[in-house]
């Protein structure tokens, strides 16, 4: 009995119609898989090849060279050291803040929580460029203090790097600790109080120990973020002459004389470190040592801060003033100065820098618009590809699902700078050029690399979205005669609309402000936003237009987010549908 005989069953069906659908389905599946292979597997495989079997060198030689020369391994030590330091400093801010915002009557808690998210989503190099504008010789602090900024050189040091990373990354600890606090609820603390324990004692003996796994998981995330961060390494780290792993990878690939094998070895080590850290983290979360009953936990009475209220409020405001206020105030102020040399005179303020960005077709509006186009294009293509892959993971069983799951999870761990290096190794091979595939050094490859870097995250986010769709809705369509594409287009996509819009938006913003992939892969003479910003900030004379461009980019992205929210979220029917889906 063959498959081909089966359509007789569907008495009304037109035989060739389903055959056509079948072919189209297979083509779509094949194209999606090929995309994943080319965009993720191929670059990472070439990266590993480069490190393990470098051309014309001993196998594994690059690793030996990395770990035997101080100038190479110093970056590893620096990165890990800064990572550990920032874990401590970030938790010194994040944990108290979590307790304050979740358990006390501190005024303005909602605003502070929103600010935590703003900090969380702000690209690290924007923050550190803001700090550069503030701190560098001739920067904003210098101008306000009459060229007497005492930190102008000491800030560009490991201290400054740790400071900026701390205030950029404490939201990770905050969010982990908050989630922990909310899951624990009040019962355990109340039970301890009833048993005769004082409030402080109950906290020290009951609440903090219960929070430990969550906080530890948050700390590991901070560590992973530090060692994979390129934005701060490439700005303050570069200026401080303090080598970090990500910057070394970049330098080996993008600074003369280039050394691909060393870059690959360092990248591999970086990925392994990330993998180890995140592996431990997911283990911690899965095997949480304390089974806390969740769901029914009620939130406890707020702790009244009493006389401390205003002092604590002041400290909280200070945290955000340092994290966001200082760098961005400095950036805005400098962007409005016509000539930074003239300082804070009233006549010196105006929109000249903005005008010059808008008229500069090369490093100004040209680069900005290139990033807008690239990020809209890449976000859209990423959405399409990730939805297909999501659907395959969701509906497939067995080996295919296992492979797709692993590819997307593993590539999520790969830092952008490593992925970018993989793209260079993969697409800058002589045989590809000989075969007529001259992708290296083109905007198309940059676009593809954005997709390769973002698609895994999009898949994981879409998976959590699609899992909220009742499986029977898809079963019902299948029984009604729908094949994969029909299912996707008619059933799955409409139901996932909200998730699709938000994932698109997130991808768009990330790509718009991408630095690592752009720095390594932008075609010569065609800089993107991040590349142009770094170039402008590298030269004091351009810092005015640099800050103006940064503000224009942030303004543009905020406008896009706002417009999309108005168009899509204000959609009463979408909300009804979402509600209905839960009810039905």
């Amino acid at each position: 009995m063959s498959l081909a005989a089966a359509p007789e069953l569907r008495t009304h069906a037109r035989g060739d119609a389903w055959r056509r659908h079948l072919a189209l389905d297979r083509i779509v599946v094949a194209v999606a898989l090929a995309c994943l292979a080319v965009l993720i597997v191929f670059p990472l495989a070439m990266l590993l090849m480069q490190a393990v079997f470098p051309a014309g060198a001993v196998p594994l030689g690059p690793f030996v060279e990395t770990f035997s020369t101080p100038s190479n391994y110093i970056a590893i030590i620096d990165s890990i050291g800064i990572g550990l330091v920032v874990c401590v400093t970030a938790s010194l801010i994040g944990i108290p803040l979590a307790i304050l915002l979740n358990r006390t009557d501190l005024p303005g808690r909602r605003i502070f929580e929103a600010l935590v998210w703003v900090d969380f989503f702000t690209p690290s190099y924007l923050v550190s460029l803001g700090w550069t504008a503030l701190m560098q010789r001739g920067g904003f602090l210098d101008l306000t203090l009459g060229h007497m900024n005492p930190f102008a050189s000491s800030f560009f040091s490991p201290f400054g790097i740790a400071l900026v990373l701390t205030f950029k990354l404490f939201p990770f600890v905050y969010l982990a600790a908050s989630a922990g606090l909310q899951a624990i609820g009040a019962e355990y603390e109340e039970a301890a109080r009833v048993a005769g324990s004082g409030r402080l004692h109950a906290w020290l003996r009951i609440v903090i120990p219960l929070l430990r796994p969550a906080i530890l998981a948050g700390l590991i995330l901070v560590f992973a973020e530090v060692i994979s961060d390129f934005g701060i390494a490439a700005t303050i780290g570069q200026q401080a002459g303090f080598p970090l792993m990500t910057l070394e990878v970049y330098n080996y690939v993008s600074s003369w004389p280039i050394n691909y094998p060393l870059a690959a070895a360092m990248s591999t080590f970086l990925v392994l470190s990330m993998g180890a850290a995140l592996g431990v983290q997911s283990l911690l979360l899965r095997r949480r040592s304390y089974q806390v009953i969740s769901g029914r936990a009620h939130q406890p009475n707020q702790i009244a801060l009493g006389a401390w209220k205003w002092a604590v409020l002041g400290a909280t405001i200070l945290v955000f003033a340092i994290a966001l206020g200082a760098p961005f105030t400095a950036s805005i102020a400098i962007s409005l100065m016509q000539n930074i040399g003239r300082g804070l005179e009233a006549s010196n303020f105006g929109f000249q820098n903005y005008a010059s960005v808008l008229s500069d077709l090369h490093l100004g509006i040209g680069a900005l618009w290139r990033s807008v186009e690239l990020s809209i294009g890449a976000a859209t293509l990423t959405s399409v590809l990730s939805l297909l892959v999501t659907y395959m993971i969701y509906r497939w069983r067995g080996l295919g699902r296992l492979v797709l799951n692993n590819v997307t999870v593993i590539s999520m761990v790969v830092p952008s700078i490593v992925m970018a290096a993989g793209y260079v190794f993969a697409f800058n091979q002589a045989w590809l050029f000989n075969a007529g595939i001259a992708l290296y050094g083109t905007l198309l490859l940059l676009l593809l690399s954005y997709i390769g870097q973002q698609v895994s995250m999009a898949v994981r986010l879409h998976l959590s979205g699609v899992q909220q769709i009742s499986g029977s809705l898809i079963d019902a369509a299948q029984v009604s005669g729908a094949r994969m594409l029909t299912l996707l287009v008619r059933i799955v996509l409409p139901l996932m609309r909200k998730s699709i819009v938000s994932v698109w938006l997130l991808t768009f913003v990330i790509i718009m402000f991408d630095l690592a992939m752009s720095e390594m892969l932008y075609p010569p003479g065609e800089p993107t936003l991040g590349v142009a910003l770094i170039q402008k900030f590298g030269d004091l004379g351009n810092i005015g237009t640099g800050t103006a461009m940064m503000m224009l980019a942030i303004g543009f992205v905020l406008a896009v987010v706002l417009i999309i929210n108005i168009v899509f979220r204000g959609d009463a029917r979408a909300n009804q549908l979402a509600g209905a889906q839960r009810r039905i």
């Binding site: 560098q136 186009e373 003479g525 590298g538």
Partner: protein, 369 residues
């Protein structure tokens, strides 16, 4: 009650809401750039083979002005990619299998010599070389693989006149090891700056390799600090955080002096490296006639005015405007010190061969310090 079958079609009459219009517009707004990006991305694929436009890779600060002036004069469009010398050289090396540029204009003669050794450059004896100064020919390849377009001093002693009187300022290399300069010396990172590498190589060439490295180690022991590019190096000295910079006497320096910054320069009595900004043609360039025309233009007296900046009007002055021209009879700013300097001419071929090793060793010493 109406027949449901008749009533039903109304269900399909979609009421076009404002939101749908908005959404449609948004989709269009998204769709157009997607298409645009693709076309643009595919378009840029054609690379240098396209013919018309000249692709220039440059690391000199006036490259854009020169390119613009050439485009205006010749009508040939120039795409200029400009970045730090180290970054541009890395690009060029990375593109070995498939070069995209036609002309290289680099502030790094050693790096350019390296490219020449790899066979990446096309020999071209521009007719303009006939009138060039002897000094300029000293940093040009005799076979025409690359030619100097501007000259400056690498590893000049740029000092803060508030911190040091003219009498206190260093006049030769050994002075820098004095206790007076403990934690006071700034240098630009040779990994990124061609002139800085030239200065380091000059030390090794003058003193001999072993003594040279001992001297550099001693500099680090005396607290020498490495900054990425000339900008932060000069800024550190201008602000007084450091009193002396080992840096290129670049336009940025003269620009600061002109604006009243407390800076002055000394040239070491035992020798300062003559640093050439050099131009060359990519061996695989498919746009040779335009490339040759561009080289001729940059080396011509007209081009030189743009290359070094128009001192009289101040127009086009940015970056390397105060560098020494390669043609005689090009008017130069009077502030520029151009005579009485004991120039060291480095062996560019040797400097190129040893570049990776020397930079690695320098990095190790910097890391250990």
């Amino acid at each position: 009650m109406a027949d449901p079958e008749e009533r039903y079609p109304q269900a399909f009459v979609s009421r076009v809401s404002r939101r749908q219009v908005l959404r449609g517009g948004l989709m269009l707004g998204v769709g157009a750039p997607v298409l645009g990006t693709f076309l643009e991305a595919c378009g840029s694929n054609t690379g240098s083979g396209g013919g018309a436009a000249l692709q220039l890779y440059s690391s000199t600060d006036t490259a854009q002005q020169v390119a613009d002036a050439f485009a205006k004069q010749s009508g040939t469009k120039v795409n200029n990619y400009n970045d730090d010398a180290g970054v541009v050289l890395a690009r060029i090396e990375a593109e070995t299998a498939h070069p995209r540029a036609d002309v290289y204009l680099l502030s790094d003669a050693e790096g350019m010599a390296g490219l020449a050794q790899q066979g990446r450059l096309l020999a071209y004896m521009s007719p303009q070389r006939n009138t060039m100064t002897d000094l300029a020919l000293k940093v040009s390849d005799p076979t025409g693989l690359f030619t100097a377009v501007g000259l400056s001093g690498a590893g000049s002693f740029i000092y803060n006149t508030k911190a040091l009187t003219a009498a206190q300022a260093p006049v030769d290399w050994p002075d820098l090891l004095k206790a007076q300069f403990k934690d006071q010396i700034a240098i630009t990172d040779p990994a990124f700056s061609g002139p800085s590498y030239g200065a380091i190589f000059g030390i090794l060439q003058r003193m001999g390799t072993d003594a040279g490295w001992q001297y550099i180690t001693a500099l680090f022991h005396n607290g020498m600090k490495v900054f990425k590019t000339n900008t932060p190096t000069l800024a550190a000295v201008e602000a007084g955080g450091r009193s002396v910079a080992l840096a290129q006497d670049s336009a940025a320096f003269y620009d600061k002096v002109a604006k009243g910054a407390p800076l002055a320069v000394n040239y070491a009595s035992s020798g300062t490296v003559l640093q050439g900004d050099v131009i060359a043609i990519e061996a695989k360039s498919a746009n040779l006639s335009a490339a040759r025309a561009f080289v001729d233009y940059v080396l011509s007296a007209t081009g030189q005015t743009t290359e070094i900046g128009d001192a009289a009007t101040g127009k086009g002055v940015s970056g390397d405007a105060w560098i020494i021209p390669v043609q005689p009879n090009v008017t130069q700013d009077s502030a520029r010190v151009a005579t009485g300097i004991n120039w060291t001419i480095v062996d560019l071929a040797k400097a190129a061969q040893q570049e990776a090793d020397i930079k690695a060793k320098f990095k190790t010493l910097a890391g250990a310090a």
